[in-house]
Amino acid sequence: MARRSTESLASRLSPFQKFYLIIVAGFVLGPFIPLIIQSLAFRWAWPDMLPGTWWLEQRGKSMMPLAWDYVLSPYSRIWEATLNTVGIGLAVTVICLAISLPAARVLARERFRGKSAFEFFLSMPLIVPEAAIGIALLMMFIRLDLAGSYFGIIIAHLIPTIPYMVRMLTAVYQGLGRDFEEQAIILGASRWQVLRLVTLPMLLPGVVAGALFTFLVSTNIFLLTFFLGQGKIITLPTLLFSKIAGGTLDASAAGITLIVTLPGIILLIISERFIKEEAFGKGFGN
């Protein structure tokens, strides 16, 4: 259903609209082209259009692993960083959902004293600079012996993600109304069944969007991870930073950069599919 309408939309575009689409796509995808070339290069000096020497030409001659060989080797620590990033991202997403769902429900449905003040404070982490939050947390966590631990990093990641998630889910809850849950209870469902069989499926598009967003934010957080990881825990963003901190982007840094974008791209594709087929494909949402 959704797919058919996309197709018919594409065929209805005027030449100008097509041109415009190509320009936008160019802006989004453009930066990836030099990155990909760079990741395959051995030497690429300005103002050459293409690398003077390719990685594959040098592959047999060097003692050290080069470019992709290096990126995919244990020396780069890329696997460790990827695992950390994905693991932390998943944990943050799940915990963030568990905290935000009940909070959003109350914010959407109840009136209580100090509600607007609460909503204001909820946005504070988005206003206060990340560096300030990072330093403050670091000082606290050193004392609590949480610095350099997964637990500490996960807590730090929850700070900027919860406000977004709560806001997003509050809007979704407002659209849901209480009839469905009350109806389920009257029909004999337990609280847990109501959540699992009625609330979550109906909130699904919002939850998927919120979870996706949280995961992407978490996998991209550099500063907080850098402060609180204390070099003991590396993630893709901190690994990337250590490779490009010198101010140059060599083949292995380019390769790492490309890998850093992978979780997001994969997740986007999965969730696009999921939302379309599971929820909207069944005539949901009207």
Binding site: D179, F180, E182, Q183, A184, I185, I186, L187, G188, A189, S190, Q193, L197, V198, P201, M202, L204, A279, K282, G283, F284, G285, N286
Partner: protein
Amino acid sequence: MTQVQLRSISKRFGGFTAIENIDLDIRSGELVALLGPSGCGKTTTLRMIAGLENPTTGEIHFDDRDVSDLRVQDRNVGMVFQRYALFPHMTVEKNIAFGLSVRGTPRSEISDRLDEIIDVVQLGPFRQRFPAQLSGGQMQRVAIARTLITKPSVLMMDEPLANLDTKLRGEMRRFIRTLQQRLGITTIFVTHDQVEAMELADRIAVIFNGHLAQFGPPEDLYRQPVSVDVADFMGASNIFPGTMTGTDAVKTGFGTLSVVAQPGMADGSRVHAMLRNEGIDIHPANVEGGDDMVAGRIAARDFFGATVNYVVECGAERIIVNEQSRRLLDVGMEVRLDIPAERVWLMAG
């Protein structure tokens, strides 16, 4: 078969009183309509019976059991919401089976009862559809089936017909009435349409502003409303202020009517007299009559086919008379109205 009793139920939301001291005694197997204008507390009453809302004071009994502390899930009630609340992500079948599957009913039993109820509500061809692919009447039947499949001891419906067009509404009324009689299930339904209430209900509870104004069979509410408000809400058109002269006559703007003495209506008290417009006989002025005749002139005529309405000017008042259209009288004609004492109903105030 369950008897439902509300005993001095009140409900306050903060400082606002939504329900004030309501007593209601609903017999088992009875179909009761809660009738009243918007915001009078009908939904709130249903929600308290279902357990979705706790009364501020008072008790609710099912048979002889106080259910005030019983969870919603344990009250075994059914409720059809005004907007049906069908789960949009489930098929018709899944929606209807919901109440059984959450209780862990064995699959084979679910499928048997599903077949049975789907047959009753005639939804066979729509089993695999999603709610968004159904018409209003079909959605309504799904909502009713979903509630009935759990065999509730009390069935509640919040304005079940409000979202349907006129023709469908009539059909669904008959459907609900037949179903209710067949299952003998105690049923409470909310409406703000007095015709619907009279057609469907064994007894009607009229609620104004959180107060129970009157509770009784449709005929009583129609013929003997306790107040002008109730009379008005039940669709009465001929209500005239007057003063009692003795206990068996009332002086009105168009003359003195003889009435049947009613308790509490003493000589000299101010009252309202209600004349049912189908209870008045109209005659051309030359016809001789008894003491109950009131003289007037036809000011307007509304022809409805089988029946006809005359607006008759009598002194300072206008009386509406409804009769069968076997003959037609002309506008401007001098007439006499025969208003027998037993067709006049007095209300205080």
